[in-house]
């Protein structure tokens, strides 16, 4: 069969569905993190050699290749390391634009050496400053899920 692409009549269009289901094991280390969220607590791990603290937890330190299997509780407060402001709706494809600007920030929990990307709430974009202190806002329904962290807000309001 020869296809003449100039003539659309000759083009065959095939549609098919491929079912691709993936399920990932978080493993016992990340499991502990989600157990912590269920109790409204941040649980990280600490490197047995250099003392770096990882949140979310991981069981190896890349800098030392040493075990980081000691779990430690971390506070609900942190520092805004970086941020961006967007009016494109995050993780929603149906309606892209939103009326109110959203802020996403890189927040380093006090005592941790890593930062998490989280929504920053209850502040006007013009008041944002890197280095400002923030505190976690928990979701209404806690499920042991990443969404348990609704976001972070400035301590005491700005």
């Amino acid at each position: 069969m020869t296809l003449n692409l100039d003539d659309e009549q000759d083009v065959t269009i095939t549609k098919g569905m491929v079912r691709a289901e993936f399920n990932f094991w978080v493993g016992i280390v990340m499991d502990k993190f989600y157990d912590g969220l269920q109790e409204k607590k941040f649980i990280g791990t600490k490197c047995s050699k250099c003392g770096k603290v990882f949140l979310p937890p991981r069981n190896r330190c890349g800098d030392c290749f040493a075990k980081a299997e000691d779990f430690i509780d971390l506070p609900e407060t942190g520092i805004l390391k970086n941020f961006t402001v967007t009016n494109i709706k995050i993780s929603e494809r149906k309606s892209r634009n939103v009326k109110k600007d959203q802020i996403v920030g890189l927040v380093q929990i006090d005592g941790a050496d890593t930062a998490m990307i989280v929504p920053v709430l209850n502040i006007n974009p013009e008041d944002l400053k890197t280095g400002m202190k923030l505190k976690v806002v928990w979701a209404k329904n806690i499920k042991g899920h990443p969404d348990d962290i609704a976001g972070f807000e400035p301590i005491g309001g700005v």
Partner: protein, 414 residues
């Protein structure tokens, strides 16, 4: 000829199982890397110059797992390369590590291969590997729905059943002969600590009592889908002599592509009608033996690990790589030649038939052969192993890796 003589100094595994849900992919790999480094006490993780990582392309839906697990395989701020070539991935990772040392560019190289099949959908994964022509089909005017007709039952077994039919016609092998290979593998696996299907009391009758998946292959003959990882540490001859009691020198490496036979478009694309002919394996073996100075593999090789998810493949490979005369393998298995205490022990680790973490499988073959030379294998053969081979197969039946190793460096011809 290699510029620098590469040697294997350590091999590590994690425990393989159908579901390693206690760890994520990075932690799974870490277990094998730690096991490997713990067994080479004088090597620090900082001594590793280069890391090569591989698993099947997106089987778990993770496209760049090597970046995810960088910290977990001692690769932070180091040169890193990912290699993926279908079922031969592990073999290609092993060969790439060999090239890295042999070229003189790197001294100490860590090869890591893994698969956590319980996370993914193997059938979808195989659609991109065993159905190598998937993307070519539309350009030939074929509809996607036509693929189903070609593949028979599933992907890999669809390929293997064609090989089995041709092999059985050529050699007059019976289903009982196939079952005997399975029994030997599963009983061997029971004596090796890291394997998946451990069946110390399985019999030929047990295997033949299971239903057909795709004639002539039965459920009891098919490899499992495993979660697991393997790590191998390579270094130069000079360093290996200082580090290891018995360094295993890699003396010959061949990796040939062979046209796919039965899964060419309606068999038309290959110019080859016998899927058990496997010229790629013959050519790879010839090249590796010539590099290693081996003229009579059936006499000079002491131990072999071949890649056989299905029992007919084990019979086919040991013949194609020159260990047995054509069509004589079934008799050798009947007479116990390939058993643990036989003259030519094959797959004493339990083989791919007992454990198949796909991306790792083709590296676990040369890795286990190296352990047999070191005398440190989980199911160690009683005789002394001087020369051994590790073979890998995969990628729409068209890529073979063949590694020959020994306790002495490559013979130098002048």
């Amino acid at each position: 000829m290699a510029k620098v003589q590469p040697a294997v100094i350590s091999v590590g595994f994690c425990e393989h199982a159908s579901k390693r849900s206690d760890v994520n992919m990075a932690e799974l790999v870490n277990e094998a890397v730690e096991d490997c480094l713990n067994k080479a006490e004088s090597v620090e993780w900082k001594d590793i110059d280069y890391i090569i990582n591989g698993n099947m392309p997106a089987f778990e839906g993770a496209n760049m797992p090597e970046l995810w697990m960088t910290d977990h395989m001692a690769a932070k701020n180091k040169p890193l390369l990912r290699v993926t070539t279908g079922g031969t991935t592990g073999g290609s990772v092993f060969v790439s590590a060999y090239y890295a040392v042999a070229s003189g560019l790197f001294d100490t190289v860590l090869a890591v291969a893994f698969e956590q099949q319980s996370c993914g959908n193997t059938t979808v994964g195989l659609a991109s590997v065993a159905l190598g022509e998937l993307s070519i089909y539309p350009t030939l005017g074929y509809e996607a729905t036509r693929l189903r007709r070609n593949m028979g039952a599933g992907a890999a077994i669809g390929v293997a059943s064609y090989q089995a039919m041709n092999y059985m016609r050529r050699s007059k092998a019976t289903e009982e002969d196939l079952a005997r290979v399975v029994v030997q593998n599963r009983r061997n696996a029971a004596k090796n600590w890291w394997t998946h299907l451990k069946m110390p009391t399985i019999t030929i009758e047990d295997v033949l009592d299971t239903p057909y998946i795709s004639y002539p292959l039965r459920f009891g003959m098919v490899c499992p889908a495993s979660d697991g990882a393997c790590a191998v540490l390579f270094t130069t001859e000079e360093k290996a002599k200082q580090i290891a009691d018995i360094p295993v020198y890699i003396n010959g490496v061949g990796s040939y592509a062979n046209e796919p036979a039965i899964i060419g478009v309606d068999c038309g694309g290959a110019g080859q009608t016998d899927p058990c002919e496997q010229l790629g394996a013959v050519k790879s073996a010839e090249l590796a033996y010539s590099q290693a100075g081996i003229s009579f593999p059936n006499k000079e090789i002491d131990y072999a690990e071949v890649y056989s998810p299905f029992p007919n493949q084990e019979l086919q490979w040991v013949e194609r790589v020159g260990l047995f005369e054509p069509n004589s393998a079934p008799e050798a298995y009947l007479n116990g030649v390939t058993a643990l205490n036989g003259e030519m022990p094959v797959n004493c680790s339990g083989g791919v038939n007992s454990t198949n973490a796909i991306g790792a499988s083709a590296m676990e073959r040369p890795a286990e052969s190296a352990l047999q030379i070191m005398g440190k294998a989980g199911n160690q053969v009683p005789k002394t192993v001087h020369t051994a081979l590790g073979h890998g197969w995969g990628g729409a039946i068209n890529l073979i890796s063949h590694v020959v190793m020994a306790d002495e460096p490559q013979r130098k011809f002048k």
